[in-house]
Symmetry: C2
Subunit: 196 residues, 2 copies
């Protein structure tokens, strides 16, 4: 009987993308069920007083080098998204909640993560998001209606607040029972906790 | 023929202590020569605009949990130092340069790291540092004279500036050839680079 792995994520975050690529392997090896919790990382930064790594120039230069090392280790493609400063990320995150309701989370997340971190698109832009949905075989009109719902908006805010309240300060953040793990570079500890 | 591993360190930093505990194993497995470069982490933070993790409360709560996970994995003791806010760290760091001159770096570093991160002492305090030296069989009077020398003071400053200029923003930072690695949690990549 596998344990539950809560995965607080944001499509914007490159290390979260790297962690996402490793979930099928972890689930297969541990029998864990992954519970996907979309949150707004920039909101979490505001709630917790944290700030993005690129605000320290040396850290901003090092971070992509570090991430590429993991991408090579995992054998996955990671490209820098050139739209980072103008990114519309709220619609795709609300869309993740719609996808969960519709039982379409896996194809939706794959479409968002790869468009963001492989193809370098502004995934939430009005002329991009619906196309990505259609290419993934998802009903763009239904998603557009879904992300306009108040309860969907509130759930994204509540997830972000809950992450802060439970001790998170960045993405990705994982919980296994009462234990919190921050960063895709802690997946080995996450896997140990899931086996333990 | 082993490569060279440059290790920019500060006795104050818990992850640097953890990395220090792993150096004998890495050197034995790779044949690498470790070049120890003392630097003042708080000075590096000022030079680079970085700040300590505890300035974000959630990060400050998580960090010791994370470090203990590695301490357990490594099978080493790591205790929180209660003097963090009043720590005198400059004399011990200057002392590291004196120890290198005298060919006594290994016993000196062991005395400082363990007093700091196992015994929880304010290692640079006037009534502590000389005692630690004597307990380690080192000549406290010679070290006291050494750390008053202008060239020793300048070398510590220059190391810190060099770390910033080469892209560092925290401790520990490692260089293998032109490649930089930040954090004791990157020692697996460091070891790969030393083998490569």
């Amino acid at each position: 009987m596998g344990k539950t792995l809560e995965f607080f994520f944001d499509f914007m975050s490159p290390p979260t993308y790297l962690a996402w690529t490793q979930m099928p392997g972890i689930a297969a090896r541990t029998g864990a069920e992954v519970v996907w919790r979309p949150m707004l990382t920039l909101g979490l930064f505001q709630l917790t007083g944290n700030r993005p790594p690129m605000t320290v120039p040396n850290k901003g230069k090092y971070s992509p080098v570090d991430l590429q090392r993991f991408a090579r280790r995992y054998g996955v493609t990671l490209n820098r998204n050139p739209h980072m400063m103008e990114l519309k990320i709220v619609p795709p995150l609300r869309g993740a909640l719609v996808a969960q309701e519709r039982g379409e989370f896996a194809p939706y997340a794959k479409a968002m993560f790869e468009a963001m971190h492989v193809d370098g698109l502004n995934i939430g832009a009005d002329d991009v998001w619906p196309q990505l949905l259609e290419q993934a075989g998802l009903d763009a009109a239904a998603y557009r209606a879904g992300i306009a719902r108040e309860d969907i908006k509130e759930t994204l805010k509540a997830n972000t607040q809950e992450a802060a309240d439970r001790g998170a300060f960045g993405a990705p953040t994982f919980f296994v029972g009462g234990e919190m793990f921050w960063g895709q570079d802690r997946l080995d500890f996450v896997e140990e906790a899931l086996r333990g």
